[in-house]
């Protein structure tokens, strides 16, 4: 077979779902561009990317966790706590804020990795516990209010400035996604993540270092949540201990819409980005729709619409899977 043709051949039902999300994203962009005057304006595009980069980062960490068959509920709490840590450290140096926030997230991830791999606690429970603990720690550190960042150390540039005409958070997200793609597709550890999601016991029997890989995945997710927290603090000028509620669900939704199976063993970095952008785009389009003045949908309605959207995608995926694999669902 022609190598190009072969590369384009869809190998699994997962590929179909992932192609679907990319098509849906382009469809939505086209819809927005045709319907709203300023949809493709520089302002809208740049602020869209600036604001949604942190969600994309969290979704990527979540994607790796879900590919192993696990889940990380702690990302929202971790991001909130990391934003406080970053804000508290920002007066010393912008780098102190940046790396301090990441380190805070990394610590939560390390704790998750430890409880999941060494203590053998279900990821759902382990990360639920750290989610609560992270929120609590953030509130304690912040004294139950938002913490202003320093405007003198250059910390705010991370979230607010541009580089080569492109928001810095978007650059960060882009770099991290390229790295994530390399790790998943071209580094052994990425393939091991997928093999572990395919079957943990089997992976162990094949001699893969299951614990170490799993721990790395949770640490990565924690660190990315920490990075998202840094961007949050920098962008809004304050550490926000009460932000982040529901972020984990948004991240899970992005990953699922991106065609990664919750059962693990399958997934793609590119489609995860598409999934995160797609869900964010729904939000963006609703804003424009409100702006037209025909309808006025509150933020609550937007949640309902996003939820319905997610449900449709998941049902379509399930149908696609059962048709492609010919398996009966139980």
């Amino acid at each position: 077979m022609n190598p190009l043709l072969k590369a384009l051949t869809l190998k699994s039902p997962g590929d179909m779902a992932r192609l679907g999300v990319i098509l849906a994203l382009f469809g939505l962009i086209l819809f927005g561009a045709l319907r709203y005057e300023n949809f493709l304006s520089q302002y809208n595009i740049l602020s869209f990317l600036r604001y949604n980069s942190m969600f994309a980062l969290i979704a990527l960490g979540m994607a790796f966790v879900i590919m192993t068959g696990g889940i990380d509920l702690s990302v929202g709490g971790t991001a909130a706590m990391a934003s406080v840590v970053a804000a508290l450290l920002s007066p010393y140096h912008w780098a102190a804020g940046l790396f301090g926030g990441i380190a805070a997230g990394l610590a939560v991830g390390a704790l998750n990795g430890f409880t999941v791999t060494v203590m053998r606690i279900q990821p759902f429970i382990a990360t639920l516990a750290t989610m609560l603990a992270a929120y609590g720690t953030g509130l304690l550190l912040a004294g139950n209010q938002s913490v202003s960042v320093s405007y003198d150390s250059g910390f705010t540039a991370i979230g607010q400035d541009d580089f080569l005409g492109f928001p810095i958070p978007a650059w960060i997200a882009l770099l991290v996604y390229v790295a994530g793609w390399l790790v998943l597709e071209r580094l052994p550890v990425g393939r091991h993540v997928l093999a572990i999601g395919d079957g943990e016991a089997t992976a162990a029997l094949m001699g893969l270092k299951v614990r170490r890989t799993l721990a790395a995945v949770y640490i990565g997710s924690g660190a990315l949540a920490g990075l998202a927290g840094v961007i949050l603090a920098s962008q809004f000028g304050a550490g926000q201990p009460t932000e982040g509620v529901g972020w984990e669900l948004f991240a899970i939704a992005s990953v699922v819409v991106g065609g990664t199976l919750l059962t693990g063993g399958s997934g793609s970095v590119g489609a995860t980005l598409a999934g995160a952008l797609l869900l964010a785009m729904v939000f963006n389009i609703l804003n424009f729709e409100n702006g037209l003045g025909w309808i006025s949908l509150s933020a609550y309605w937007q949640s309902v619409i996003r939820g319905g959207f997610l449900l449709i995608v998941v049902v379509l995926q399930a149908r696609l899977m059962s048709r492609r694999t010919g398996e009966e669902r139980v």
């Binding site: 699994s12 580094l187 395919d198 094949m206 893969l208 063993g265």
Partner: protein, 497 residues
Amino acid sequence: MLLSMQGICKSFNGIPALRAASLEVGEAEVMALVGQNGAGKSTLIKILTGAYRRDEGAVAFAGEDVSFSMPAESQARGIATIYQEINLAPQRSVAENIYLSREPRRFGLIDRSAMRERAAAVLRTFNLEIDVDQPVAGFSAATRQMVAIARAVTQKARLVIMDEPTSSLDEREVAILFDTIRTLKRGGVSVVFIGHRLDELYRICDKVTIMRDGKTVATAAMADMPKLALVRHMLGKELAAFEAIAKDADEGERRPVRLSVENAGAGVRVRNVSLTVREGEISGLAGLLGSGRTETANLIFGADRLQRGEIRFDGEVRSYRQPADAIADGIGLVAEDRKVDGIIPDMSIRENMTLALLPKLARAGIVDRARQDEIVARYVTALGIKCTSPDQPIKELSGGNQQKVLLGRWLCTDPKLLIVDEPTRGIDIGAKSEILRLLRRLADEGLGVLMISSELEELLAAADRVTVLSDGTSVAVLPRRELSEAALFAAMAHQVE
């Protein structure tokens, strides 16, 4: 000597699984490892690969004492295992499965084209030309096995352990596998071949090690071990002889036929089985492990679909789509593994016994306790279940009494035919004969009983007729008067050519 395991002991929760087992494999040798279910083969292999730790004993591999604490260590030393449920990552590609954890790299990144080419090259040595980019899930069991073997070969394995590698292969695929084993052997690799189909062992293995009850009972060159002797070593002899409780020979033949199975088949496990169960008789079903006994029971019970042949119940052709249909006709099945398929450990005797009956016992949707009590009390007495009260959790009972509760569960439904799969497994010897007497009494009351058993003494004592299965085919029907240990051994050692 490549591998030497001596005096290996291993207990789980105080229950010994291995009692001084041994295994020796020479260079470039194919060693058969055989034994009944529970003989300790898998435990021995898991100790070798490092999945379990041994309690006692010594293991030497390639001249060095070894003690692996996880499979990765034994793999690194050249011991590869091809498990029955082939251990590959199903959604990953063939090439990846061969090289997972040893990916060829360039500049730190996986060199995918090198990986692809090498994988294809290895598979070609086994005459396998497939697209190595496809996920392994899409390939047949035989191909997946070949991929697992290719993985072993690229790991420079010196010893490859194959756990029932032919169980899901057809005849042609078995031939390909055996060619592969010969290729391995020519390359100086040794193989431990765990299997049950005797003719296959004689075709491919050089030597045989036989295990029973956690011990190694015999080791010999394949050529020096006639089939009959091999079967005898595997099954051994229980010391206790049961009292004969079977019917007089001729009386049974005049009773009406309750169940008749003719040339039944499904998949590769049940090829061609014929048997009959008459009213009021215990019909035995014998055969070595993997001969298709349990699968035949599942066919009769509607748990698997019949693909060929015919099943008649009380003279009428039946084709059950699900167990509920068979149950509605009056067929019950007491499954082989109580723990998995039978009891709900934390529930009481009462609940365990009447679980299936609850809808019938209900009045206006609420369970009628009085009737439930009455039924349970009746069967507790009738079956002689030893317990403090019907409310005692079933897990506190002995194995024999648990089995009686399960029998009681089916008897409540007033069945016409009861299939019992290894009814006395894991039960002490006194309780065994009690269960057998109970089955006899039930048969005397008109029930037809189909008894699957690996214990010959049990069949000799209780069965009115025994159908012998070998490789999914009924190879002999021995009526009571022709039933003897020698006859059973001979029939079981028989292999279909």
